[in-house]
Amino acid sequence: MVLNMGPQHPSTHGVLRVLLELDGENVVTAVPDLGYLHTGIEKSCEDKTYSQAITLTDRMDYLNPLGNNLVYCLAVEKLLGLEIPKRAQYIRVMMVELQRISSHLVWLGTHALDMGAMSVMLYCFREREEVLKIFERFAGQRMMTSYIRIGGLALEPPAGWREMVKRFLAMMPARIDEYEELLTNNRIWQGRLKGVGRLPAETLIAMSTTGPGLRAAGVAFDNRKAFPYSSYEEFEFNVPTRTESDCFARYLVRVQEMRESLKIVRQAMDKITDQGAIRSEAPGVVPPQREKMKTEMEALIYHFKIFTEGFSPPPGEVYVPVESPRGELGCFIASDGSPKPLRVHFRGPSFVNLQALPLMVKGQLIADTVASIGTIDIVLGEVDR
């Protein structure tokens, strides 16, 4: 029998359609069908100046907008050969790590909901709300922040931000314990996840899988360690791994990653000084300060040029990989020396990781398909772009 799952199925977390060929309760083949959320972001980027495209990146992986901002800005900064002040780099690290926690919280809550544990979602969203409040204070926006800009950050951290982040850091470890109490030793949770969606590490590598899915198979590959960006080499944290490579191992890896992220946020907070630049000095690329615009003619000219014509990086191509909550998020930009990019391509980890789904669910029960889709942790906005 052929069963059509989605695109409006609640456990596909968006609009994924999977065609399941069944033999009784078992899946013979699964064929994912994508594109219901295709918005042509890569094409739109080609018609915008480099700085205009930042708001589009927010909308790809909508659980990780700061990470998307970061990868795009890092790529453009690499094209320009721009150095970013340390203070801005640390703030960036702090923000994307908070984002990683909030993204994993949404994953945990919705995945538990799929598996029938209703209440966990309420707990997870309670803490996620706290992260979003921090973002709102920093950027004025809860989700589509566009906070990270080319050359630095959009705004100075708000007054009282330290207390806010400190409160979150003090609260969070106990809350993660709470989720673990609810789930880790829960027999139903274990029964639904253990031994489900198992794939060997070699297969995952060959299928280009990255992120928690690969680390749950015993491969300690993390771009933050392997190819440090934004001063990650100065931070101390572990890369949690498991060896079972099933859905339960992926769950444990993600929970552990939240704890590691808290460590990084704490270190970043200590490194961020109260005074210092949040943008690099790059006339013609980074908008000048408001006061300078009123007193210096050059600043006014630069401001006008940036917002009308944009700036032109030298011709060439760069590929920048970062570690998003879902795996390797890459940004490839080709410049032809004009103020608009010739090509912008995002290597979305959701898109690539989803490829392994047919292998994961082959021969398994239909109910386990839901568990496998869940632990791949896809965001359809990024799959379809």
Binding site: K43, S44, F221, G316, P321, R343, H345, R347, Q355
Partner: protein
């Protein structure tokens, strides 16, 4: 040979030259990233060498994408980002594809993960991949006409 800033890239170039002196058409260095330009016909062989040579061991294909240089000819450039997880090294392979005959060997036999990446390029640029097991549109509906990421396709779509 000119000294490259990236020690890994020097190893790759050395090993590839030792294997087949004609397999590298050009080496581009830009902002610390090295791109090895490969002749169109040799792409699959070079990729195979990169994967199977134990000193290179590029066991994962991170990304594959295309750049359209319209109206230049050959207009398409394919960029493959290779990653070696054991060696923690990256390299980019590039080859060009002509606009009249947009066909190239698929890398799916080497890295099954190339499947969807190549389908995406096929879908959005209209480049065909020889040896691909399932070359269908992936993001756009099957009845869509044209290749929207080509430079001569209007941003606002065709009316």
């Amino acid at each position: 040979m000119p000294q490259l800033a990236d020690a890994n890239a020097s190893v790759v170039i050395e090993r590839l030259r030792a294997w087949n002196p004609g397999c590298i058409a050009q080496i581009i260095e830009y902002r610390g990233e090295t791109t090895i330009v490969v002749p169109h016909k040799l792409l699959l062989a070079v990729a195979k060498q990169c994967k199977e040579d134990p000193a290179l061991n590029f066991n994962q294909l991170s990304d594959a994408t295309c750049v359209d240089r319209f109206p230049n000819e050959p207009r398409f450039e394919l960029n493959y980002q290779l990653l070696s997880i054991p060696r923690l090294a990256r390299i980019r392979l590039r080859t060009s594809v002509s606009g009249q005959q947009p066909v190239i060997d698929s890398l799916e036999p080497l890295w099954p993960g190339a499947n969807w990446m190549e389908r995406e390029i096929f879908d959005l640029f209209g480049i065909r991949f020889e040896g691909h097991t399932d070359l269908r549109r992936i993001l756009l509906p099957d009845e869509f006409e044209g290749s929207p990421l080509r430079r001569d396709f209007p941003v606002e779509g065709k009316r």
